[in-house]
């Protein structure tokens, strides 16, 4: 890939004119159409779509399990299903949503598709490894689905020993093997992203010209590489203990059950940032595009991404304040957890400042982004409640925790995922979706989400423990309200699945840059050609070069 050589080229940036279609090579979707060309492709864009289809399937499975859970909780006495059925439903919901939807959601789809486009590369550094990681993912998924089909698992997604190793009579082993395998797919994806971002940037694309989306994916990839091996080890030890009674965690064989929790949360707390950081990247692209304004505090937002990815490795103990951890450890982990507030606040306030004095368009992606900011703020601050020791002793393992992490994972990651899906849908598919339906769905999801999960904060403080198939009757009203909200949320999820699929055949053809957005991915056609760019893209003078620029840009980019 050669440098374009135009030095003054960046100075006059005109509205993008699509390339001539005559004589143009077909785009990546139409280059080949055999099954083989999809299942043996090494094109990062096609692999991204393979991931998109797979994780959508898992989202549906996870959502159905959530529906079963909310159905059961309409009555307090467990009359609708047995305790075992309920326990299996929430376990499947957790396992599938965490490992087979949330963790791969944004990195493996949007990251895969967009990182090479955003840095002006023709593919990821290791295209074959990229395809391998999808097959590894599907192999892990197969094991997990086998355990569901055979009769399910009832340990919760956390697999705490010795319940999971010695006491559960369900199909724990295939589920454990599945989750272990899927970790390798994360590691391979992270490795691929790190090498790509280091070595494949177009000439002139320096680190501080990278979109925040790339920064957050870089931070996420570091977590993939550093944290995932730990959960892999822990799960293999769990498998060894369940299958061969190797005593590591079960005191009956000389093990320590709290050790498993340390290993589990050493990965699973950073995993929260595997879910959250890519979403922050998406929001950092959408907000400037729809405010027509340069991202406020670009460098601070970039550093905050790395900051979050670093701090997150030192707070795992806040999951264990009441679980037999030493009191001193609890004090230290509590204090460190408050430090997470700093980079999080940087993100939120900078997005808000970006909207200030912008020229706003409230299209679907922007509605999702605004919803995201509100819900992420609430989810983040309630996390600080939980990090406060004296409060944690009361609301640990109650519905307060359930509400808190759904505000982060659904209010955060899922809204960012849907916002990004609408934002880049024209780029992925070459088609425009229905804007009115998009807005209606975004508003439905925001309302449905809050009706579902806000009552759970109250339930938690009232003292309703989580993972309860039956509950005291005085909690019924709030539970019914929550279940009613879940039906609104379900409707909000179903609409996009319908109108997005419809748009594949009947949607208006998308121009190269329908939002008039900045970033190299908008400099190529929609959908892009197989090698991404017909001619080498020109790297702009500054990132987020939108018409409205606050004075702060002079400080930031001398």
């Amino acid at each position: 890939m050669s440098a374009s050589g135009t030095i003054e080229g960046a100075a006059h940036r005109e509205p993008h004119a699509p390339e001539a279609t005559i004589g143009r090579k077909p785009d990546y979707l139409h280059a080949e159409s055999t099954l083989r060309s999809w299942f043996l492709t090494t094109d990062h864009k096609r692999i991204a779509l393979l991931y998109l289809a797979s994780i959508t399937g898992f989202f549906v499975i996870g959502a159905l399990a959530a529906g079963v859970v909310r159905l059961a909780l309409v009555v307090p006495n467990g009359a609708i299903m047995t305790n075992d059925t309920y326990n299996k439903a929430f376990t499947i919901h957790g396992v599938v949503m965490v490992w087979f939807f949330l963790i791969p959601s944004i990195p493996a789809t949007f990251g895969n598709f967009l990182i090479p486009l955003m840095i002006g590369a023709k593919d990821l550094a290791f295209p074959k490894l990229n395809l391998t990681s999808w097959y590894v993912f599907m192999a892990g998924a197969l094991f997990t689905l086998v355990s569901v089909v055979l009769g399910g698992v009832d340990t919760g997604w956390t697999f705490y020993a010795p319940l999971s190793t010695a006491f559960s009579n369900t199909w724990v082993l295939p589920a454990l093997i599945g989750v272990t395998i899927v970790g390798f797919s994360s590691i391979l994806t992270g490795l691929n992203f790190v090498v790509t971002i280091h070595t494949m940037r177009a000439p002139g694309m320096t680190w501080f010209k990278l979109p925040i989306f790339v920064w957050t994916h870089y931070a996420t990839s570091l977590i993939f590489l550093l944290a995932t091996p730990v959960i892999t080890t822990a799960l293999i030890l769990l498998i060894a203990e369940r299958a061969f009674h190797v005593g590591v965690f079960d005191p009956a064989f000389g093990g320590d059950p709290v050790l498993f929790q340390h290993l589990f949360w050493f990965y699973s707390h950073p995993a929260v940032y595997i879910m959250v950081l890519p979403g922050m990247g998406v929001i950092s692209e959408i907000v400037p595009a729809f405010a027509r304004k340069k991202l406020f505090g670009y460098r601070f937002v970039a550093y905050a991404s790395i900051g979050l990815a670093s701090v997150t490795f030192f707070v795992w103990g806040h999951h264990m304040f009441v679980n037999g951890q030493s009191d001193l450890a609890s004090l230290v982990f509590s204090a460190l957890s408050f430090a997470v507030a700093v980079p999080s606040a940087v993100k939120v306030y900078n997005w808000t400042a970006t909207i200030h004095k912008g020229a706003l368009r409230l299209d679907t992606p922007m509605l999702y982004a605004m919803g995201y900011i509100g819900l992420f703020v609430l989810g983040g601050l309630t996390g600080l409640y939980l990090a406060t020791l004296a409060i944690n002793q009361h609301i640990h393992a109650t519905y307060f925790v359930v509400a808190h992490f759904h505000y982060i994972m659904v209010g955060g990651t899922v809204l960012a995922f849907l916002g990004g899906l609408h934002f880049w849908w024209p780029k992925f598919t070459g088609r425009m979706y229905s804007e009115p339906w998009g807005r209606v769905s975004a508003i439905l999801i925001f309302l449905g989400f809050n009706v579902t999960f806000f009552p759970q904060f109250i339930l938690g403080y009232l003292g309703m423990p989580r993972r309860y198939a039956t509950y005291p009757p005085e909690f019924q009203l709030l539970n019914v309200l929550s279940s009613a909200g879940a039906t609104i949320l379900a409707a909000g999820y179903i609409f996009p699945m319908l109108y997005l699929v419809y748009s594949l055949w009947f949607g208006r053809k998308a121009p190269a840059n329908p939002w008039d957005a900045k970033g190299l991915e908008w400099e190529t056609s929609s959908p892009p050609p197989t090698l991404n760019f017909v001619s080498p893209p020109e790297v702009p003078r500054i990132p987020y070069d939108y018409p409205i620029q606050a004075t702060e840009s002079k400080d930031q980019h001398r």
Binding site: G78, L462, E552
Partner: protein, 322 residues
């Protein structure tokens, strides 16, 4: 004696001074949360309306130095929240240092019941009776998986681990009946592993120890035998052999394979344990239970029958059936 079944309750009852302190802490934190979030919500909404594309709002650069503003919104919220770290840590440290004169109650968790043993020897299952006005220290351990004892009325929970003791202490100051839960997921009947915490005046507690507590002790002894003779490994919910549940069996009508039905009274239960092949049950289940004739001394058999009499239906506490 059941907790108040208000249709919609918005704040839990606090039964100790430290519970009130925890409530004050969370209320103050909520005020800070509102201070930090409401401006963001209002700003986003206001900007979205004010700065819609095409509106003639003033968009001239505000000229604020960004580094200053960045550092202030990094540090000010952080320092404000640190106040709550210190506040929460202080209460936490108090909650970890019981006074030396605390009354010690032993707590054993197992799938899926709690056993409480009072210092005077009485024991009870799932329900816990305690005096107010006196520091209580619960010494907690588990026989199998990890459980957690959760007493919302005093805003406390602590894990029950299988390999070591954990502790919780509090000094209750309000008489009443409150929930007692398991809050660490422990398998099939996790959600019914609980009962009532009854806080009593010290005099009533002494009365209880002499009367009700002694009776509770018989059923608890029966429970221990029920486990020792292996009844539990088949009859407990969730066991691999799907033997009929004994919960709520006493006094109920039992349908037999020959079309008759009998009431499960003391004598019938006794006969069924000694001669399981008699009175085959309806429903076509295979009869695999061995006979216990000659294997259980008569006094222990009485205790097991007493235990079955007091064995609650799922979701009901032992006390409710008494």
């Amino acid at each position: 004696m059941t907790p108040d079944h208000a249709a919609l309750q918005l704040w839990p009852v606090a039964a100790s001074a430290s519970a009130v302190e925890a409530d004050e802490l969370i209320l103050a934190f909520t005020v800070l949360t509102l201070v930090l979030t409401v401006p963001v919500f209002i700003a986003i909404t206001w900007f979205a309306l004010r700065y819609r594309e095409g509106s003639d709002a003033d968009r001239s650069p505000s000229g604020i130095r960004s580094n200053l503003i960045e550092i202030s919104w990094m540090l000010i919220p952080f320092l404000l929240t640190l106040v709550f770290f210190v506040w929460g840590a202080r209460l936490f440290v108090d909650s970890k240092n019981p006074p030396p004169d605390a009354m010690v109650v032993e707590v054993i968790g197992r799938q899926w019941m709690w056993k409480f043993q009072h210092p005077t020897g009485q024991s009870e299952i799932n329900d816990l009776h305690l005096p107010i006005g006196q520091p209580i220290k619960l010494r907690i351990i588990s026989q199998d998986v990890i459980h957690a004892l959760y007493l919302p009325a005093v805003r406390m929970q602590v894990a029950a681990l299988p390999d070591r003791y954990t502790e919780m202490w509090f000094k209750a100051d309000k008489v009443g009946t409150f929930h007692l839960y398991c809050s660490e997921y422990c398998g099939t009947d996790h959600s019914v592993m609980g009962g009532k915490l009854t806080l009593m005046n010290p005099g009533d507690y002494q009365d209880w120890l002499v009367h009700a507590g002694a009776q509770q002790g018989v059923a608890a002894a029966g429970r221990a035998l029920y486990e020792a003779y292996g009844c539990a490994s088949c009859h407990e919910p969730g066991s691999p052999v799907k033997a009929p549940s004994l919960a709520g069996l006493y006094g109920s009508k039992v349908a037999l394979a020959d079309g008759r039905s009998v009431v499960a009274d003391d004598e019938w239960l006794r006969q069924k344990i000694l001669n399981p092949n008699g009175d085959k049950l309806a429903g076509g289940g295979k009869q695999v239970m061995p006979s216990f004739a000659g294997r259980i001394p008569e006094d222990e058999l009485n205790k097991i029958v007493d235990f079955i009499k007091a064995y609650p239906r799922p979701g009901q506490s032992a006390e409710a059936t008494r």
